[in-house]
Subunit: 161 residues, 2 copies
DNA sequence: TTTTATTCTGCAACGATTGCGAATTGCCAA
DNA sequence: TTGGCAATTCGCAATCGTTGCAGAATAAAA
């Protein structure tokens, strides 16, 4: 279940970088430690606001940026809307649901055997793979959605005229 | 060299969909036909403005959106800045330069042999692979950049004191 | 405790994109 | 060829995610 480092470790990292450990940052450390959802800054801000009303969205952005530049988080942009933040695990890739936009980590084997055609002197340093499709929850509710297009259902118990 | 369909073909597609063929659209059809750079709406707008001063950025967006929803173009979001548009070729992937942000198409073999670990009931419908690195031009100028960190160069011809 | 550099916050500004309304115009029919 | 009308263009305002800035608040060293 390796995610982001523990709040204590992150505090140490911040101090080691000459940054201060504030209540706002500690809260975010805790929230990130418990999070596996690749949250946006705003999603994190919403949760943080419940435990610390008045915390600024600006501070959330700032802290996420700091963590990212220290290598503790990675930022992703799956769909051109909001940036997602997640623990900086090693080589891994993502699945993103086209319905609910939730993301999850996946491990992919075989990337080293990919044959890339058409690089003209381009030197590849890294690769990001995003698999798109439907998560199991959305696949389930998709069925329900199609059922809602039925306009009327006659009960087997009702009298039929 | 298969790119987007020819201006004539695109005009036919538009009419077939009940859309009109305007001078603005014809211009964009021509520009896209000659383009291999995965341009942004704004980049296309700049070029279009040279040939048709007064064309609106709004119209460029509109036409790109139309072409995309008709399946003639695909839109990509590599870096969270501006959306890129390119001919809707089949299964292909991209290389993106981390220095100049230019993108190019690549063909990748072996994707069907990828082993994906950690899908919990997620059904994969498609995959996008983005290879990041340095294009050959930027790799070349990167060398020059490091040379500029030299503070002074003494000419072999100059007198030394 | 005092001090001070860092951080927080709120707000304004930014770039990309879209909604909208008024003026313009492609295109079909007569 | 000429209306006539729906589609299109244009410009502007508004939106969203994100960042710059400045003044108030504060962590932490002395």
């Amino acid at each position: 279940m390796s995610g982001v480092r523990s709040p204590t470790e992150l505090s140490a990292v911040f101090r080691a970088n000459g940054l201060r450990v504030t209540p706002q940052r500690q809260l975010l450390f805790r929230l990130l430690y418990a999070d596996t959802t690749h949250p946006t800054a705003d999603a994190l801000f919403t949760v943080a606001s419940e435990q610390m009303p008045g915390i600024s969205l600006r501070t959330v952005y700032q802290t996420l940026t700091d963590l990212t530049s220290m290598g503790e988080l990675q930022s992703f942009d799956f769909d051109g809307t909001a940036t997602r933040f997640a623990p900086n695990l090693g080589e891994h890739h993502h699945v993103v649901c086209r319905s609910c936009a939730k993301a999850a980590d996946v491990h992919v084997d075989g990337t080293t055997h990919l044959r890339i055609d058409g690089l003209g002197g381009f030197s590849v340093e890294s690769s990001d793979i995003v698999f798109r499709g439907l998560c199991s929850e959305c696949a389930a509710s998709a069925t329900i959605t199609s059922i809602t297009s039925i306009t009327s259902i006659t009960s087997s118990k009702g009298s039929r005229s």
